[in-house]
Subunit: 128 residues, 2 copies
DNA sequence: ACCCGATACCTTATGTGACAAGGTATCGGG
DNA sequence: CCCGATACCTTGTCACATAAGGTATCGGGT
């Protein structure tokens, strides 16, 4: 027993809570952004931070692996582009397959939101 | 290399997708139900299945450990009750602490929902 | 009398995404 | 000349969800 673990092991509190709730959401967010137009990774990081109003605090360690997964599954396509600069960027485009998948994700998400709303609302009234 | 893995490794498809999206949601759902009145575990299973309209397909292996975690952190209290039957039930009540936590969870959840809505809506218009 | 499905509780092994932390390299300013 | 921003990446750890499997009781149906 060295330095008493500064916080209880299983309680990073609000940060963990937020993280768990937002789980799976990043994929939806990323594909949505890409459905408008192509973007490169670092750009996505900034776009998501702005758009989500701080709610979607995507980290680099989350985004890059996610992009690789989406690429592997054929939902997006990557192309390196230099555009005259020596610091090249990796642009991602959504594929038709990705659009189909995105539609599915949207459906799932609104289903969940509706389900939760109903559950929360219903409960307020039950009171039985 | 025995029987070719019936489905690609990382693609349990819709089930996984749904699971990841709903992550963290169960805690909110359970505490919400308990905020109305006390329930025992198996009962929660059924209540959640009904209320959530199939969206919140809580499994036993998810619920019981969750209840233990909530108990350990003082958000709920458990009491065994026989009520004349030989098959006793373990009833859970929400604590004041749990109510505070629930409020926090609700806030986080609606923040996420709002953030996502905004992001999805905004994107539809940007089109830039 | 007997078995089975529902009721009720539980645990262990596995998967998966999020993240912290750390790495590489370029470029523009001060 | 160095530092912070731009850009990309990886590895180790955590926490939750689930599949699968266990124990035990009870009420019906045959």
């Amino acid at each position: 027993m060295a330095e008493h673990t500064e916080a209880a092991p299983g309680s990073a509190t609000i940060a963990r809570l937020r993280r768990e709730l937002a789980r799976g959401t990043t994929e939806l967010a990323v594909l949505s952004v890409l459905s408008v137009r192509r973007r490169y990774g670092y750009e996505l990081l900034k776009v998501l931070r702005q758009a989500g109003e701080g709610v979607l605090e995507v980290k680099e360690g989350t985004l890059y692996p996610l992009l690789h997964r989406l690429e592997d599954s054929g939902h997006i396509l990557a192309t390196w582009e230099a555009e005259g600069r020596s610091r090249p960027r990796k642009y991602y485009v959504i594929t038709p397959d990705g659009r189909t998948y995105l539609a599915m994700l949207r459906t799932e998400w609104s289903g969940l939101v509706d389900g939760m709303r109903q559950l929360l609302d219903t409960l307020g009234e039950v009171q039985e």
